[in-house]
Amino acid sequence: MTALTLGAAITAGLARALETDDRVLLLGEDIGTLGGVFRVTDGLQKRFGAERVIDAPLAEAGIVGTAVGLALRGYRPVVEIQFDGFVYPAFDQIVCQVAKLHYRTNGRVRMPMVIRIPWAGGVGAAEHHSESPEAYFVHTPGLRVVAPSTPQDAYVMLRQAVASDDPVVFFEPKRLYHSQGEVDPDGDLADAPPMHLARVAREGTDATVVTYGAMVRTALDAALAAEDEGLSLEVVDLRSLSPIDMNTVAASVRKTGRVVVAHEAARTAGIGAELVASITEQCFEYLEAPPLRVTGHDIPYPPAKLEKHHVPDLDRILFAVDRVVEPGTAPSAASAAAIEGGVR
């Protein structure tokens, strides 16, 4: 085992993928001599050459679209989108081409592509640098979408993503890039839990918090704080957003009977909506309270000085936990009536 940051774990995973399969190519903006704006590809071009670690023109559709062609030629491209908010120019290529080519060719064409995206907020970044676009991709059949939250998962899941014959959108929680953890770089991939399985990050009995990415850390902090108040929270780290491992989620909810779903992406039609619907379908008779969502607001990502009001923190998670533990304390009827009146 080695102590690595989450960012360094991805670097190690990329290096291992390049080593083991010469069809693997990296393609992205500034990923060569600079090593990427987050230095995740640091040293890889020097080690594997500019033919395999390719500095691309500044064109996201171009990066993903040429990667489609490389995959058609038999390569396994791993592309880097520099920031979450820069993926939109490539959206057409991802949802219309990458996601559908296997289907529309009856399986004759495979798209073993990984689209790495430094993702989400909390790092005080400029506009367009802190977005949470995961629901767009989760809503797109044909894509797999994953988001590791620990260095070990980042290392293993990156390698699993590269090995997968399906296209994988790989969200890297950028505010965890520098968080450290133990990584087993020599572990056998076959022994690792499959990429699509969720993980119980902490066991508990009173309520379940389901989340993913950097919010796992926040949820674990909330669970520690709740413990001081005598509440035992279970934290489920989804790891995979498409598909979602509902077996693990449902098992936890059936155990605790209460659930809060947390993410920093906007609320409406987000992952939380999908989770709450599925939980309601599968665990209705076990629920002691309506499932609640703690999410970013339905607003464009706010300026950095205000992002703490958008990204759910420990207190907002605990506030929701209180509501599911004591359902009578839901948001007041008075404020709901005021909102209704305003809308009319």
Binding site: A56, P57, L72, R73, Q97, R108, R110
Partner: protein
């Protein structure tokens, strides 16, 4: 030698217009008379009669296929058809220049390219009928899945060419698109990537004057071929209704790419004689005179006149090709009408290459639901 297109008119020094259809390299005049073009001649000096006849035959078959496609749509057998009448020369002749290892990235109108690459009758109709998205084996045919999204395939071709370059092969990728696609970011990004990486890709723009109802002048003020040199890509503007000019230009472009010199660009100036698709009504946006003018430039009549004059084709040869075309059309019709719609559960097939449990559950639920009707 670089063969770069310049858009300054020799006489006036002023920029030409995008819709100047006569400022093109040409070998066959509209009446079939053979003329000389220094840039094109050397690329087809070796064309034997049997190759000329094969070119003509594939153009006739393409036209017959197109007629059949429109008829099948009108009879309710196809949901839609995108006619290619008038564009047979650029499609068939450029495809005739390809080698077996080359991969074509077509738009939805390139029936002649597919035909020249050896597509089976079913390959033309199953998608338009709504049976399958992409019926043919792209690797066996040397044709990537037909692209509907405008211009997206230019990037795929470029990426594939980058792979071919990495493989140290002499394979070339060919992206076909229309004049409308040149407005798309993907086509422009493809030219940036292709030029920067010297990827062996040939861009063939079939400028058929209309992107549904929008004339080429909405896409381009100056001739489209004039853009490529700005990307560092040599280009040619040829008469797209002149099969020999198209063949020659394509041989030049492929040779350029195969020699490791990077991408090349061809603007083939042609005309869509029919509607954009069978759902379109071109009488709303263009006048009959224009169609009549272009009918007099018909690529098939032009080639036939030349081949008769050159003694390569006679009445009996033409009759034989006509019979072959009818037989081919009958096969296309049979493949269309005989198509068997797949099992309902197959809508869930191939969404993923690897098992996906929630989707498998959805399939099981739906199959169970359907089975409920037969219990």
């Amino acid at each position: 030698m670089t063969m770069t297109y310049t858009h300054a008119s020799p006489e006036h020094g002023a920029p030409e217009r995008a819709d100047d259809v006569d400022d093109v390299a040409r070998i066959l005049q509209p009446d079939g008379t053979r003329v000389s073009d220094p840039a094109l001649d050397r690329w087809i000096s070796d064309l034997p009669p049997h190759e000329l006849r094969a070119l003509h035959r594939d153009m006739v078959l393409t036209r017959r296929l197109d007629t059949e496609g429109v008829a099948l749509q009108r009879q309710g057998q196809l949901a839609l058809w995108a006619p290619c009448r008038g564009q047979e020369a650029v499609q068939v002749a450029t495809a005739h220049a390809l080698a077996a290892g080359d991969l074509v990235f077509p738009s939805y109108r390139e029936h002649g390219v597919l035909l020249a690459r050896g597509a089976r009758p079913a390959d033309f109709v199953l998608a338009w009928r709504g049976e399958e998205h992409s019926a043919y084996d792209h690797a066996a045919l040397g044709v990537a899945p037909v692209q509907i999204i405008i211009g997206a395939q230019a990037l795929h071709a470029t990426g594939w060419a980058m792979g071919a370059q990495r493989d140290r092969s002499t394979d070339v990728a060919v992206a076909y698109f229309g004049d409308g696609a040149t407005s798309q970011g993907d086509v422009n990004e493809a030219m940036v990537f292709a030029s920067s990486f010297r990827a062996p890709v040939v861009f063939v723009c079939s400028n058929n004057q209309w992107a549904i109802s929008e004339p080429v002048t909405v896409q381009a003020r100056h001739p489209i071929a004039g853009r490529a040199p700005g990307f560092g890509i040599p280009s040619m503007r040829v008469d797209g209704n002149d099969a020999l000019a198209c063949l020659a230009a394509m041989r030049w472009a492929l040779d350029h790419a195969r020699r490791g010199e990077g991408p090349a660009f061809i603007e083939a100036v042609t005309y869509r004689l029919g509607p954009h698709t069978t759902s379109d009504d071109p009488t709303r946006y263009r006048d009959a005179d224009e169609v009549e003018r272009w009918s007099r430039r018909d690529p098939l009549a032009r080639l036939e006149a030349y081949l008769r004059d050159a003694g390569v084709l006679d009445d009996s040869g033409l009759a034989e090709v006509a019979r072959a075309a009818d037989a081919f059309a009958a096969e296309v019709r049979a493949a269309c009408i005989g198509a068997v719609t797949r099992d309902p559960a197959s809508v869930f097939d191939h969404v993923y290459a690897e098992p996906h449990a929630p989707l498998e559950r959805q399939r099981a639920e739906y199959v169970d639901y359907l089975d409920g009707f037969s219990r």
